[in-house]
């Protein structure tokens, strides 16, 4: 009771400071909410695995609120980018992630920031979960100096610590990711690399080259065996264990990632996770996204499988949060996005003096030829 009174008085005090009519909102204390609940999630299909991720999982209220906030932030950020692109304030390529939030958030929930991640060009969501801010992501999309890559990279080339982009060439990130994992193994730091690619990239030859090398422990043994993870050449597609995961269900992704991370860290080698996910937008802003699927299909996924709605329903029906609380998060998120968009549209473009910088790392300043012989520009590291 004392706690409840304190809350009401805090609300009144806050209102008084803002010179707003004091309205006592329903003051439910944290003691009213369920601190955690158990949920049944879909079983993952497995391949070459004796065990599978758990199907009964626990979600705490705090976790739920955090996941909700991040997913909503990604959703709103992507929708704002859509808007800015249509206003021609964002140019070039823009590949949006709305609908897929459960993947980025679910994966990050089961790894650490000290682990590593690399993905393709649909990267804004991961840039956020890997430590970037909305402000610097949006300012990068609008090509301003406050962008996460100072305006030099754009939508497809954003980097943070232990996040290697953002890669424009389909499939190239897969060997890169294996290289990052090699470095982890080499340094003995028990870190892992999550390497993401789409169904398009899955057909690239370099993916299969990477599967072979990732599984092969780099050349131990005799000559044929050293080069090939499997010398049963007629079975060559199938030597890495795998999981098929419901990518629209955050809890499913989190549990599968937990399982996969354990598998990797315990020295069992690489593992493939197929996340069945769905993007609401077309491939990019130049694709309306309805020539190869119907609007009804998009609508159906949205109404039945939206990852944010799924989390929200779970929390509300288990009394883990209130509608007002979630609405408050929505309001805060919206404000964060608006502030970021304001920054992104008012921050000045990078100065021309910096055009040639960062060609090299940790190097003396060099002269760079401009468009004509008299244009001698300068590059610093």
């Amino acid at each position: 009771k004392l706690k409840m009174l304190t809350n009401i008085s805090n609300v009144l005090r806050a209102c008084a400071q803002r010179n707003v009519a004091a309205v006592v909102m329903s003051a439910r204390t944290y003691a009213d909410f369920t601190p955690e609940a158990t949920f049944e999630i879909k079983k993952c299909d497995t391949f070459k695995l004796d065990e599978a991720p758990a199907t009964q999982v626990v979600l705490t209220r705090d976790e739920g609120l955090e996941y909700y906030r991040i997913m909503q932030t990604i959703r709103r950020m992507e929708l704002k980018a859509d808007q800015l692109y249509k206003q021609k304030i964002i140019r070039g390529f823009c590949h949006l992630y709305d609908g897929q939030e459960a993947c980025a958030v679910g994966i990050e929930a089961s790894i650490n920031l000290s682990d590593h991640l690399i993905t393709a060009y649909r990267a804004h969501g991961y840039t956020l979960t890997r430590g970037g801010t909305v402000k610097e992501i949006m300012a990068e999309l609008t090509g301003r100096r406050g962008g996460i890559a100072k305006g030099k990279g754009g939508s497809m080339h954003m980097y943070t610590k232990h996040f290697y982009g953002g890669n424009g060439i389909v499939g190239a990130q897969v060997p890169l990711g294996a290289g990052v994992a090699l470095a982890c193994k080499y340094q003995g730091n028990n870190q892992l690399c999550v390497c993401l690619y789409g169904d398009g990239a899955a057909n690239q030859g370099q993916i299969f080259e990477t599967y072979n090398m990732a599984n092969n422990r780099y050349g131990m043994g005799t000559s044929v065996e050293r080069a090939a993870a499997s010398t049963d050449y007629f079975r060559r597609g199938e030597f890495i264990p795998g999981l098929r995961v419901d990518g629209m269900d955050l809890l499913c992704v989190r549990e599968a990632t937990r399982f996969a991370a354990d598998h990797c860290r315990s020295g069992k080698g690489p593992i493939l996770m197929e996340l069945q996910t769905y993007r609401y937008h077309g491939h990019s802003m130049s694709d309306p996204g309805v020539s190869y699927r119907t609007r009804e299909e998009i609508q159906e996924v949205r109404s039945k499988s939206d990852p944010i709605s799924m989390l929200k329903d779970r929390m509300l029906s288990n009394n883990m949060a209130s509608i007002e609380e979630l609405k408050e998060i929505d309001v805060e998120v919206r404000k964060e996005i608006e502030d970021a968009a304001l920054f992104a549209t008012t921050d000045p473009e990078p100065p021309l003096e910096e055009l040639c910088n960062h060609i090299y790392y940790n190097d003396a300043a060099v002269e760079v030829r401009g468009t004509n012989p008299w244009a001698k520009l300068k590059s610093v590291s």
Binding site: K150, G153, Y164, G177, G179, Q206, A227, I359
Partner: protein, 343 residues
């Protein structure tokens, strides 16, 4: 390693070392110095290297640091670049640079451009090395020179050593550089011995990337070259010296960045310039030198247009007589110099 003692009277030990051994010594020293350095490529470990450049390294450093890969250039080059992203310092060997075409996307888009795209956040300290250019009898698909292709791209450094000192000093510099370096060796040079000074034999002998060397001073004409052709230029210069023509021979050592100042200073002295390269003429190293000279102060000192001596503009043929006539020979260099000097 072969030892040939020089004159005792000078109390100097003159050591002769083959280019492949100089490269080996460079890698050995750098592997020892920095545990983040490692080598990967086809046959680099248990086979001791397709051309024996990495001989003994696997025995000394083991599986973790000397890694045999399958024949998967695109895959292992991407893996090498990813390892560089995450803090290691890989040496990625291409059995020849012809095979680097399979992996060129990883070299250019993943390695060269990343520092710039990330506004200086993500370094890529990697060396891509291997034999480049023509060999002997290996025909068209195994004889291409990639100097111009890689030197075209900002974000890369491109280095082309000629002798053993070049090989050792520049490879050590490349490994220590925090940027992607394309290091172009030459198969026909691997077995050629050169004198190594005491300084060059030391563990900290590093040559600066971006600086050319005047191998032979002269007053009448500047010869600019890289890799194996430097030797041809010196041979041509020796012949011409007997006729009273003194050639200044510049060994570029670096293609990108190129030591334009050294070329210009020389041209301003000799008033004549001949470039010599093994690669094709169009859009090549010599073409770039011509453009640079035209744009700079040395242009006004030229008494004749710049002459380019290059490989013939054809895919490399197989038959010996055809192959011999597809690359610059000493007689071609002499002929071109005399035409340039109008003698």
């Amino acid at each position: 390693m072969s030892f040939l003692r020089g004159s005792f009277i000078d109390a100097l030990v003159v050591l002769q070392m083959m280019v492949r051994d100089a490269l080996n010594q460079a890698m050995d020293e750098e592997l020892e110095r920095d545990e983040r350095v490692f080598l990967l490529g086809e046959e680099v470990a248990q086979y001791d290297g397709a051309y024996k450049v990495s001989r003994g390294l696997w025995k000394k450093y083991g599986d973790q640091r000397i890694i045999d890969t399958p024949i998967s250039e695109m895959g292992f080059t991407g893996i090498a670049v990813g390892a560089a992203f995450a803090g290691l310092r890989p040496i990625c060997e291409f059995m020849t640079f012809n095979f680097s075409m399979q992996a060129i996307d990883q070299v250019i888009n993943s390695a060269a451009k990343t520092c710039y795209m990330s506004a200086g956040f993500q370094a890529v300290p990697i060396v891509f090395r291997g034999p480049n250019g023509s060999s002997a009898g290996v025909a068209a698909q195994h004889s291409q020179c990639f100097a111009a292709w890689y030197a075209h791209c900002p974000g890369l450094k491109v280095v082309s050593p000629w002798n053993s000192e070049d090989a050792k000093g520049l490879l050590k510099a490349a490994i220590r550089d925090d940027n992607p370096v394309v290091f172009m060796e030459n198969e026909l040079m691997y077995g050629v011995p050169f004198e190594m000074s005491e300084e060059a034999l030391s563990k900290d002998f590093v040559l600066p990337i971006g600086k050319a060397k005047i191998e032979r001073p002269g007053n009448h004409v500047t010869l600019v070259s890289h890799s194996r052709c430097v030797g041809h230029c010196l041979d041509a210069a020796a012949v011409l010296a007997k006729e009273g023509i003194e050639c200044e021979v510049i060994n570029l050592r670096s293609i990108r960045p190129m030591d334009t100042d050294a070329i210009e200073a020389s041209v301003m002295k000799t008033n004549h310039l001949v470039t010599v390269e093994g690669g094709w003429p169009q859009f090549g190293v010599g073409a770039e030198i011509c453009a640079k000279i035209m744009e700079g102060p040395a242009f006004n000192y030229l008494d004749a247009p710049v002459t380019r001596v290059t490989g013939v503009d054809i895919p490399m043929p197989y038959a010996k007589i055809l192959e011999d006539n597809s690359v610059p020979q000493i007689k071609d260099i002499i002929f071109s110099i005399k035409k340039t000097l109008n003698v």
